[in-house]
Symmetry: C2
Subunit: 426 residues, 2 copies
């Protein structure tokens, strides 16, 4: 078994690098160099059959992840498979199974079998639910999940005595809002023992190497309120993750770094740039960020606001947030809304990043608008189904169809583009 | 009749300045000075009865405007009154009646009678619909609307031979997407006559002075595609508006400047700062801006992304965009979605701006979250009705209510905050 990173370092182009290069409109050598430098990750466990190779990192299209998974209140896997379908249809780039209810292993296997995208997990969730919270138990769960074909795993290696010390030194409004992070804080303090994922990091690297698991180094100390953003605990954890990134790279393991969280809008750019510096350009995976705490029910919008700025500043991978965040587990419809909102954020940022093809999409849409070509506008829309639905529903009493040249019900005959383009032609 | 600006210049505090000061938690003298400097506008026509005095500008809470109004396809005023109600309930700060269908005067009067917020119009729409597109006709419409109690008016004074010359010199993908702008371009070119609102600007100022109409100097040249942003025509118009701002201030008339439009995310900050410079700090009123063209059906989200950055950079007034933008006329539900999305943007920016009380809202919400106090979280949510609805719907099979201490269906017993705060207490 050779990891993507090991191949890249040896100068070898893998089929996955070729697939990424094709998708991104880039040269295969560019992708190989990015993987070798660590600035691109391709989460791809060969045991996950029919998985699309997806590149995450510098110079590539900003990617979107959708979280699904059961909880104790909603343990039904069929509902989660509907969410998987909704996420794939809405064009998410990756999926995480965060199940904490029902038979975790069986659910994961069902999800992996159906999932054409890189699949991530947070192994400690299974360890919590199945009461396997020993060092041995945690590593066993990691390896079991790797054997099932999981492509990337969130591991909260940066929750240590050192970062917990910072948390105690500068108390927070919201303590720890990461589930994995909170459980590890509790475990470390109760057992008076260092975090096994930190203390025995080499064992983690061995498993990652064996299955080519991309480590997504978790941000257990992420702020859960904008007032906690950028505090000692958060930055201390990041410094630790910077060290661990280097060790993973040296071992031939791919790494992604996870980031906040709730962050005021004017701190986001600095946080992203600092992370990129401390973690030597490793791909950055952000949850939101959410620049306000007050919008439960609309946190997909809040996340799109923060995500656009984060990705414009260099974040590579956006974890979606759904409208139900902070309120309850999402429905398949919420999953769709969350993916689309994050894709809008990613695309706005890709225009800024100069990602090949990004701006061309807007040019095509503008041309279709100028031509009053409704069929084309709808076809080009980020969600053609919804765009068609709205246009049809509101097309007006005069019954315009979707042909070329018809105006919409907003302006009717007073269509600015029609008037101005005719006037300027003369 | 003395305008707010004239009073401010004479050192007089008006009841409206007092109302604004109370709402904003600021001193009345601060407000007076802002109005005298022109950096704050209080659109308030004394003929608009029961209108709330609202301050727009430097140091104040970012305000949100909702556009409503009939079109030829939807001429029914009752539907627009429902939208008015939806906008007020969603806590919009101002309303514009952009009606172009049915009896424009009768509709406007009905809307003004029901509208407790500053009401704006675009008088040229009525001139177009009623075929009164002569210099005389245009000014008559302006005065008729002023007499009805309109508080602020969009007038496209910057569409001139000079700015049209720039449009011809550097052709655009989307020509002119402002309806008022497009009609004036056509009128100027066909009649080979300068824009009456520019040529006879003093006449406009006289009417504005007589009724204390706040002039919202329109951005007829706003880009309608991200690829057109920041071009010669747009900036030329802005330069003209800068001159006209000064003339209005000298005459004792309040001014707001309108801005884009479709603008790539990385151009927004510069555009806002340039505008503020060219227009000497006059309040800036942006439509969006939209950092991508590809998301019809979700343009309230796109506008929230651009609006947060714009307002963080100094924009004072956000014109909402609804999910139906670019597709058709909005419904009352779309109006609500649009207002909430813009309010999220405004609030994220108010945290950045350091507006008094803005961050406190987030602190309160975070405290309620930490306490797992669901009733309080819902009460503090930007849309308590929706937050309650989602939480109730997804509260889980164990039937948690809205008391203190209950967990939500997302994490259930594995609640990070509960686990970490208990662990850290020990």
């Amino acid at each position: 078994m050779t990891t993507q990173r090991q191949s890249a370092l040896k100068g070898e182009i893998t089929p996955q690098m070729e697939e990424v290069a094709r998708d991104e409109g880039r040269g295969t050598e560019d992708i190989r160099v990015g993987v070798a430098q660590g600035v691109i990750a391709i989460p791809f466990n060969p045991l996950h059959k029919n998985c699309k190779a997806t590149g995450i990192g510098r110079g590539l299209k900003t990617k979107v992840n959708a979280n699904i998974g059961t909880s104790a209140d909603y343990p039904n896997v069929e509902e989660e498979l509907k969410k998987l379908k909704a996420a794939v249809e809405a064009k998410a780039d990756a999926l995480m199974d965060l199940s904490t209810g029902g038979d975790i292993t069986a659910i994961r296997r069902r999800i992996i079998a159906d999932c054409p995208l890189p699949l991530g997990t947070v192994p400690i969730y299974q360890a919590i639910v199945e009461d396997r919270l020993t060092a041995e138990g945690m590593f066993e769960v990691v390896e079991e999940q790797a054997k099932d074909g999981v492509d990337f795993m969130t591991i909260h290696c940066g929750i240590t005595f050192e970062s917990i010390g910072r948390l105690k030194k500068q108390p927070r409004l919201m303590d720890v809002v990461s589930r994995g992070g909170a459980v590890l804080v509790k475990w470390i303090l109760e057992n008076k023992t260092e975090n096994p994922f930190y203390q025995h990091y080499d064992r983690l690297l061995e498993i990652a190497l064996k299955y080519d698991i991309t480590l997504s180094l978790g941000d257990g100390m992420r702020p859960g309120s904008i007032v906690d953003a950028g505090d000692q605990a958060q930055i201390q954890e990041l410094i630790i993750l910077g060290d661990l990134t280097k060790r993973a790279w040296e071992a031939g393991v791919q790494v992604i770094i996870e980031g906040p969280g709730h962050v005021p809008f004017n701190q986001i750019e600095a946080q992203i740039k600092m992370q990129k510096e401390i973690c030597k350009g490793a791909p950055f995976y952000v949850l939101g960020p959410l620049p306000t705490d007050v919008a439960p029910g609309y946190d997909h919008i809040t996340a799109a606001i923060g995500g656009t700025l984060a990705a414009s500043a260099g974040a590579d991978f956006l974890c979606y947030v759904t409208p139900t965040e902070h309120l309850g587990l999402p429905t398949p419809e919420d999953v769709k809304e969350g993916v689309i909102a994050s894709r809008i954020a990613g695309h706005c940022a890709d225009i800024v990043k100069g990602v090949p093809g990004a701006r061309d999409w807007d040019v095509e849409m503008s041309k279709a608008r100028k031509a009053l070509n409704w069929g084309k506008q709808i076809q080009l829309a980020i969600d053609p189904v919804k765009a068609r639905e709205i246009h049809e529903k509101r097309k007006g009493t005069r019954g315009q169809g979707l042909g070329t040249g018809d105006v919409c019900s907003m302006c009717g005959e007073f269509c600015a583009m029609k008037i101005s383009s005719e006037a300027l032609k003369k």
